[in-house]
Each structure stands twice: as C-alpha cells, then as structure tokens.
Symmetry: C2
Amino acid sequence: MVRKFPEPDVFQANCPTQRVLETIADKWSVIVIYALSQQETRRYSELQRVIGGISQKMLTQTLRKLERDGLVDRKVYPVVPPKVEYSLTPVGHTLTELLKAICQWTQIHWDEIEAARVRYDQGSDP
Amino acid sequence: MVRKFPEPDVFQANCPTQRVLETIADKWSVIVIYALSQQETRRYSELQRVIGGISQKMLTQTLRKLERDGLVDRKVYPVVPPKVEYSLTPVGHTLTELLKAICQWTQIHWDEIEAARVRYDQGSDP
DNA sequence: CGGCATCCTAGAGGATACTG
DNA sequence: CAGTATCCTCTAGGATGCCG
C-alpha cells in the first residue's frame, strides 16, 4: 500500500533543497569548496594549511565526499614523494555560484538576524 | 592579543556563507520553513502532523531556534486549551527565496551528481 | 606526502512520561 | 494543546599512530 500525499514531496526529507543541503552544508564542505575556487588546483597539504583547524580525517572525508558527488576532481601523480592535486569540476564551479548567492543573502540579512538574537536572549534572560 | 589573518575570513568558520548554513541547514529547519511558507500561520500540532516523522523535541527546538533568529514569529493566545500560531517573519520570507534558488540548482544538477555517485561507487567496488 | 585505521568522547536526537 | 524533562543511544569528529 502506497501512502499518497496531496502535497508535493517538499515535506519529505528527500526534497530537492534537502538534497543539496545534505550534500554541501556541513562545516567543512563549504570551506573546502571556497579554498578550491580560489585557485586552479590545490594540493592536499596546501588545503590543510590554508584551512586552519581542519583535521586530516575531516579533510580527507570531505574531499572524498565531494569527489564522489562529482564536485571535485582528484588527480594523483605517480611520483615519489606522492603528489595529489584537487580541483573543482565544472559542476563544482556552478556550485560556487550558488554559495555566492547564499553569501549575498547573508550579507543583506545577517545584521537583522543577530539583532533578533540579542532581542530574544535579552527577553528570556533578564 | 588578537590573532591576525592575512586572508579574508572566508576560510574561517564564521564566514557569511557558513553562518547561514549553520542557521538553516539542518534536516528540520528547511522542512519547517517550507511548511510555514505554504500558509499564513500554522499551529504546533498542525506542523507536527504535516511534517511526518519529526519528534516534538526537534519540532520545538527547531521552532525556538528559528524564532530566536527572527525568521519565525510565535503568537500565543491566552486561551484554554492553549493555542499557539507560528508564521514566517518578513526576513523568514526572504529566506524562502534563497531556498528556492537552492532548489533550482538541485533540479538542474542533481542528475549529474547522482550519476557521478554511481560512477564513483562502481569504480571503488567492482 | 598523502593518506588509512583505531580509539575515544561530546553532543545530537529519538522515545517516553509528565504538566500548565 | 503545546510543550518541558529525563533517559538512552548512536554517530560525528578530534587525537593519535602507522604505511606506501
């Protein structure tokens, strides 16, 4: 028996917006993508250095996830010592446009949000 | 002593894009905002019903967070039994525009992402 | 250099029960 | 009805150590 919803699937967790957010909206993905958008290619250690405070576990994990999603390209050079270069794919580049839109929204509305927070916190904790 | 960074704050976790994502990008926030965008006001129980599978803990927690950020308005009627109505604030409404943009990006690129995933998974697990 | 494997802990979040 | 409070679980993610 199939449950039928009158609404589109917006309320289900697999709605389009939900999907991207699951894809990119963690602390590190955005930062990694930014780091890659600033330069053609970045080496692993370069990313680690430029992104202060990321553990290599999370860096690797994030890069793997982005690579799996086809947003980041990973090129391994068969040299010793090892050399690996990361770069954004074409799809990855279109994603930076989206992030830019998000960034713009923030710049416009962030002051209001912070003000709202102050107001809220003052009201509940006088 | 203040630590000075040569880069702009894009790589720090508090960059603009990061901030919105921390604000809205959890499983439930998006769904709650969607639910509220479809109707002027929604009662608590109404939200709980329309959003399948959310616990009242998470619903309350999400609503409080959105209210604190000034994205959602909470109106309590002093009647018995209690009646509480939730609605989007003006800022909250502009946020739905942003979510729409995200949704559009997904609709354009999601097929590519899924295809990339299949390719990646086949390559690593033959 | 560019990782994986392991251990460990804090916090997210579900289930349940109670209340103004 | 619209929550709060408590417990309990499970996993994200840091720290550390080893390897090709």
